[in-house]
Symmetry: C2
């Protein structure tokens, strides 16, 4: 399959959009506040390395996620570039107002494939969360902001276990019907493996076009990159990833972040897919960030590439 | 593809042999000597958890790899079980004598898909390494010991770069012709990605039956599990893996070990393949080993599962 894709790509170049969610989904789990200037620098660095889609902020309550309280300053301090799409997560219409005021290119909003998770996460039924999403998507459309909808717990709910692919497909279709430009399947718990991900994607693709579908994997159980590969084989062209595999909660043993951007970029490179991103530079950015924050670099590709760069510096 | 395999498996159960190479390929890179009793305990623990194939020793020069100097004591101290195949790596006929004397079930021997690597690693041309392999395989056959041949640098050579799949296929065929029961493709540098691995396996399968082919991935660049998934899709049923992702050299930044046994087991579980191995127990073994040795657990599945076990212990 990989080979057929590689063959394909020599005829018709495959384009993949890699969105780095590190500055938002990655950093938000860190207990120690990352200075606004360091956040801005990370985003600028990623854009310099060729990333064209970056999730940079979350307009949620500062009490709920203190790490994200400086979203307005981050967006205000960034040098804007027409070729880079900056996204922000928003939970409600008020968040949309913030995003609009700060000229965010795209808002990301969520719905849930599990009633229990929805209840615990946003204190709403899935029907209510869907209604909220529709209202936001409608308002975003009127305001000329693109909206991307996430179906959380697309594989598994931490409270109630496995989720039926048909239910996710139904929700994915509703996300697009609501006016979202794209819908993303999020494996919140990282429980997905190639088999369950393949079943899910095949089921969703019966109701949603591949061009508007994306995936977001947490790598809690080490299955993230294999899952990404499975999705690319199935025609998915939008992949979330996180610099240095950031995410999860580093203070909790066993927690893990998103699939690492560096690892995904090597996979794409192998497939002959040119994402226009300098992977060595991304690895250096991740290594430096982890050094600065005093956290472990959770990208194996990132660690290996950055250590090689060190070696060549030593030789020089 | 995964789905077709899952569907298949409901008709005709797929059997996969997972060989844990942790006690050999995993431990050998550790600078600090692991006590013989701890090595024995690791092997016994893995067998208790259901592993039926374990690489336990290496009969190489004690000067070259001091960590492996107690192979005879390890094999002498183990409780033997008819259902568990114990393997030892040997570099020459003298190693075969050691292995025979200690009733090793299977010896593993190597050849090289790169002249430069062969020269630097064993100070021999590939033709000489092949001749050595043939002599060992012949003697092993006469002694009633199974031999498994590895083609190292099957994707890439650290000194000379990418390796042609056709060259690897030729060598793989020679390994079987030499009298080895199985041939393994080893991605020594971890540079393989799904595309290059797919090309390699497709090429090798033109000359070698899938039933006699196995793979051995290092996870240096985080591609290991995706590569394993690609191989399983292609009918490969023999997979090397290492408890806690052990291997490489923990003192060298950026080095990484083999693909982790725990991560592979979750992949198989997702595919509906029953390897007869208790993954929670394997995770606990890996976590305890890393604690004892004071090293990082490099299996994400292992960390996540072991931390969950801790949680449930806390609840109880």
């Amino acid at each position: 399959m990989s080979e057929s894709l590689a063959t394909q790509s020599s005829v018709r170049p495959v384009r993949i959009e890699v969105c780095d969610v590190g500055p938002r989904d990655g950093l938000q789990g860190l207990a120690r506040f990352v200075p606004t200037a360091r956040k801005i620098r990370l985003i600028e660095d990623l854009a310099d390395a060729g990333l064209r889609s970056i999730e940079v902020a979350s307009f949620v309550s500062a009490n709920a996620i203190p790490q994200m309280r400086d979203g307005a300053e981050v967006l205000g301090g960034l040098r804007r570039r027409p070729e880079v799409t900056l996204a922000a997560f928003i939970p409600n219409l008020r968040g949309l107002e913030d995003a609009a005021r700060l000229h965010v290119d795209r808002v990301t909003i969520a719905t849930y494939a599990s009633e229990e998770f929805s209840k615990r996460n946003v204190n709403a039924t899935v029907a209510e969360a869907n209604e909220r999403m529709r209202a936001i998507a409608r308002a975003a459309e009127q305001g000329g902001i693109a909206a991307r909808g996430y179906v959380s717990c697309a594989i598994d709910c931490p409270f109630t276990g496995p989720v039926a692919p048909a239910r996710v497909a139904e929700l994915a279709e509703q996300v697009l019907d609501a006016g979202c430009a794209e819908v993303f399947l999020a494996d919140t718990t990282g429980r997905g493996t190639t088999a369950s991900v393949a079943r899910l994607v095949d089921c969703v693709l019966e109701r949603v076009p591949a061009a508007r579908l994306g995936v977001h994997f947490h790598d809690t159980f080490g299955q993230g990159l294999a899952n990404v590969a499975t999705c690319i084989e199935r025609g998915i062209r939008r992949i979330d990833a996180s610099i240095a595999g950031l995410g999860g909660c580093p203070t909790a043993r066993g927690a893990a972040g998103n699939v690492a951007t560096e690892d995904v970029l090597l996979l794409l490179e192998g497939l002959g897919i040119d994402a226009g991103i300098d992977v060595a530079r991304v690895a250096a950015i991740g290594a430096e960030l982890c050094d600065d924050l005093g956290i472990r670099n959770d990208s194996k590709a990132g660690r290996a590439l950055a250590s090689r760069a060190d070696e060549s510096r030593r030789v020089v």
